[in-house]
Amino acid sequence: MSRLLNVSSSPHVRDTVTTNSIMYDVLIAMLPAAAFGVFQFGLHALLVILITMAACALSEYIYEYAMKKPITIADGSALVTGMILALNMPADIPLWIPVLGGVFAIIVVKQLYGGLGQNFMNPALAGRCFLLISFAGKMSSFTLDGWSGATPLAQLKSGQAVDVAAMFVGRIPGTIGEVSVIALLVGAAYMVAKKVISLRIPVTYILTTAIFVFIFGQQDLSFVMAHICGGGLIFGAFFMATDYVTSPITPNGQIVFGVLLGILTGLFRLFGGSAEGVSYAIIISNMLVPLIEKFTLPTAFGKEGKKS
């Protein structure tokens, strides 16, 4: 019985890429940003990251064990969710809050819809928005070197000048993972080099945001650069919007998705109540993905010129 013949439907693709390898590549790509966060915000940030990842993996295990499903924590997707969620937290958050977010992300958003591949929105971001609505105060109080201050985006919103160079390096208050653009770009370059992600979504997303901010905000290069480097835009564009499950699979759809994300982010940032809008933009666009895919489906071979 050990050599069962496996009969499966097409496509019969043979490749060394597995879910595991992709997930661990994403984890490796997030390491520079995480390391910078720990370096800047101290060991509590490391604790937040480890505990969130553990909470996600554990809640996946417990749910699957209780529901008598195959245990899938080894594929690393829960760890990626935990990592993304942790990097979206302020460094000095009480530890039980990210744990609660991780449980919500894995059980409610991912497992109740059927596990990996079935969730209709990015679990980590849904968990973050759950926490952001529930604990607005704690989730948006950022400190840097013991000094509590507004994020550059909040400063921009209230009309103050910001230091774009510091934002590029990451010496700014913010969540653990989003602060350092340079560390994020190193990770993104790794993912692109390993062909884990394509550049279609991130580039259209960032470009659209830049154009939107340029047209409707200030016609000023440093203002636009501050919007690109500030907040979670780079992190969101490369690590969260490119999630395979919740982004379109058609090339044209990915471009539409990126443009939609950019417009929503710009709208939320310039005209919304809060300074940041990447999470909500990605979540809302996630829900439009089935529609985008329906309208950008390429014509099947042999169906050219025919209406289906």
């Binding site: 529901m67 008598k68 059927g114 604990f135 607005a136």
Partner: protein
Amino acid sequence: MNKCAERLYNGIIKENPTFVLMLGMCPTLAVTTTAINGVGMGLSTTAVLVFSNLIISALRKIIPDRVRIPAYIVIVASLVTIVQLLLQAYIPSLYESLGIYIPLIVVNCIILGRAEAYAAKNGVVESAFDGIGMGLGFTVGLTCIAIFREILGGGAVFGMEFIPEDFRITIFGLAPGAFFVLAGLTALQNKFKAPSATNGSAPKSSLACGGNCASCNGLACASNHSTLEEIRRKEEEKAAQAKKEAALKAAAAKKEAEAKKAAQAAAAADAAGTEKAGE
């Protein structure tokens, strides 16, 4: 009198408007932020429901069929106005916190639904008890949801706070929380096979996974195979038995038919013989 008790049971458990019929979802999701609100909304609706059922049932032979809906609405709206004014006069705090949802009781689907489905076809006493049952069922449903939301989102039960402010999950007091709690309670209800919209009289499967293909996986597969094999064997046996019986029956029928034929032939011969004799 038994019928009245049956109506109460039907309204509170068997056809609970919130958890089984899934009616009146708008107030269910909107006002259940605190347990007091849930109870208040439920009891206001109960009051309206009892009297609307009573009046509609009493007038059911007078109201022409074509204009029955406007007639019902007029009755319900008058009652809701009375309830609204009474609440405003005697419980102003509840009136404040329920807000627009009191006038909206007029278009609550439970009230019109019961008028259409029950009060318009049944006697006055039964209809009134149907209203009490449905209203209490609605109150129980709202209070259940509201208690969970108040504990998780507000850290309190009926206004008595016991969870410090830092540990309250505010989202449960907002709109998404209402959906989470309703979905969670409905899932529990399905799990424990309580009466619900989805697990009414579905036949139980003898498969290991309960016939639920969504939860099917490799572990259940083997035992499913043996169960299926057993079912197949039983069916085969049955078929064989049926075949045997059919064959027996057919043989018996054949015999009978032959006997009949012979008898007929004999009779015909007889008749012919007598005819001949008669000639």
